[in-house]
Symmetry: C2
DNA sequence: AACCTCCAAGAAAACGTTTTCAAGACAATA
DNA sequence: TATTGTCTTGAAAACGTTTTCTTGGAGGTT
């Protein structure tokens, strides 16, 4: 691989001049500039980013830490990040944490060591103490924020999302609504839960209306199983995510419960396959791709703008997608 | 950030000694070693990978180029790669090409420039000329191989996969089998097509039995639409991937065709949601996670083993997953 | 003509490491 | 005691850049 010295030799100039031509950092006579350019092309020279980085130049590298790329929620987000990162000449490191705060910290320091210019982070718990420890790279939080931290973040307004769901259920006459969530403590889950509780403040069956498991189909099935065996009275299930909803629907079907006539089921996330599921899932669409895009823009701005910009807190609006699991086609047609 | 000089100063030794302690590259007196260790801990020193890389040390960084992370086929593969990479201390750059060879080449050189130690590549066409141009980093091909190249690769045996499908259809008495594929020229697609053609060699309706579109639900629907409007006679559809199958099923359902009694539909890939689809999709399961794992092992071996190992060509066995779209439950139960 | 200013370009320092080279200490051998 | 060898350590070179410092010359002003 040709280095700057080779270029200098070929062009008969000093390496300083070559550097100046490359970076446009000072005036160079037309004649020399041309010679240098020619040498660069002939040798197919590309400056070594390691050496550059050593001099404090940005590495044009971003870190992206997410819980798990296999979770259907994340690929679109990742793609959003990558598209704008790429457009701006950044490459991105992708890491999974499996929602394990310890692993998260390890990944964080590993990336820091790689001299990334900035980090996009989907935190997996509400206290990420390591972020205060060494504020070495700019950080933008993604999808979830942490309290008591002034980092920029871009999230979805889950309060609004949950309200959309509950208003919809109220509109179609559902009175006994049950929530199947997860005991995780991320900002989104908290917001949804709080919003749910608030909505039903003062309603008698509230206490029995909330159940916790995991964000999986299996757990959704299990919780629903329990719901039935405990003979809890409900006419609607609100789920913490689509996977849980799939599990719930499966069990309800197996028990001969009619969806949506007997029970409405609403998911959350609108992952790719919710539209293919049978019956098609009513759910809350999260603009995940945009989430990634905007976060990438934020971090790049923070990196490249010299002036210390104020931290930005962005909340994107989710949309309720009414499909077949909350309200029957016949009724829907009558209404529309 | 503390550097090696600070450590040396604090421990009252030369930087050479510190370096030797860190890398265990030569003997250092116990006493000094301890002092150095203490200084390292106290200053929370971590050696700068940029400076190391400049000296020719590996960067412990891998590139992973795939067509599109939003394609449900890839997340598990990516995760497989990441898990073993992580276990071995490598971080990975993830890039999308959208199956565009030109973009692929750009990404390739971008990663090379980042001084990755090795590259995992899902090629998007059969001729990747840039791989010969500058063989700078070890490359392992993933999921698809290219002809006339001696690179290591790990792929799924699609010949076997297609045979499993066709044998299954033959077993259940299907005679008029139609193939809905894509005109892409990847090794996997080619193998499947060839295998299909070979299987039906000499059968009269072969010519009309093959249709090309794209790997999407939309395209699957479109092709099936055409199949119906052309009044082509068929009792089984073999699809290039699961998405196409979903589209086909949707259209068939809309036209009152009974699945699987009138027509069997078989997908390919067994993406996560094929088990949730209604009816549940019969399809060929690809061991994508293992694909990623093995590829990562291969590339790491190639990087770390000094001796020039022979290139390895690994073919993983797919499995046919018989669900509800190829053979009706009643019949299946009778058989079992 | 003498002086100052400005500009283009080269020399050299710096970034943080690893590694080669040289040297000093000490033990072992003759 | 002189010689050889081994072991430990420090000094310095090297990796490929950017940037500061320096220099030489051209042009303008008095």
């Amino acid at each position: 691989m040709a280095n700057i010295k080779d270029v200098a030799k070929m062009a008969n100039v000093s390496i300083s001049t070559v550097s100046r031509v490359i970076n446009g950092t000072a005036n160079v006579r037309q004649e020399l500039r041309k010679k240098v350019m020619k040498a660069i092309n002939e040798l197919n020279y590309r400056s070594n980013p390691l050496a550059r980085g050593l001099k404090g130049f940005p590495t044009r590298t971003l870190g992206l830490i997410i819980p798990n790329i296999e979770n259907p929620f994340f690929p679109a987000m990742v793609r959003g990040v990558q598209d704008v990162a790429n457009r701006n000449g950044y490459a991105i490191f992708l890491c999974n944490t499996d929602e394990d705060p310890q692993l998260e910290e390890i990944q964080y320091f590993l990336l820091l060591e790689k001299k990334i210019d900035g980090l996009l982070l989907v935190v997996s718990s509400m206290n990420v103490s390591f972020l205060d420890k060494e504020p070495h790279a700019p950080v933008v939080l993604l999808d979830r924020y942490v309290e008591n931290s002034d980092l920029s973040y871009v999230v979805v307004d889950h309060k609004m999302g949950m309200n959309l769901v509950l208003k919809h259920l109220e509109n179609i006459g559902r009175k006994k609504v049950v929530f199947l969530g997860s005991k995780d403590v991320t900002s989104g889950a908290k917001e949804r839960l709080e919003s749910f509780v608030e909505y039903f403040k003062g309603v008698a069956n509230l206490k029995t209306g909330i159940f916790f498991g995991e964000y999986s189909e299996k757990s959704g099935a299990y919780m629903t199983q329990k719901l039935l065996s405990k003979r809890i009275d409900f006419d609607a299930i609100v789920c913490g995510n689509d996977l849980i909803a799939f599990g719930a629907i499966k069990v309800l079907k197996n028990h001969g419960v009619n969806i949506p006539d007997d029970v409405s089921v609403v998911g959350y996330d609108d992952i790719f396959f919710s539209a293919y599921h049978s019956p098609k899932l009513t759910t809350v669409h999260q603009p995940t791709y945009e989430l990634g895009e905007i976060a990438a823009h934020l971090i790049i701005d923070e990196i490249e703008k010299k002036e210390h910009e104020p931290k930005k807190h962005i909340r994107l609006e989710p949309r309720l997608i009414v499909r077949e699991t909350s309200i029957s086609g016949r009724i829907k047609n009558v209404n529309s």
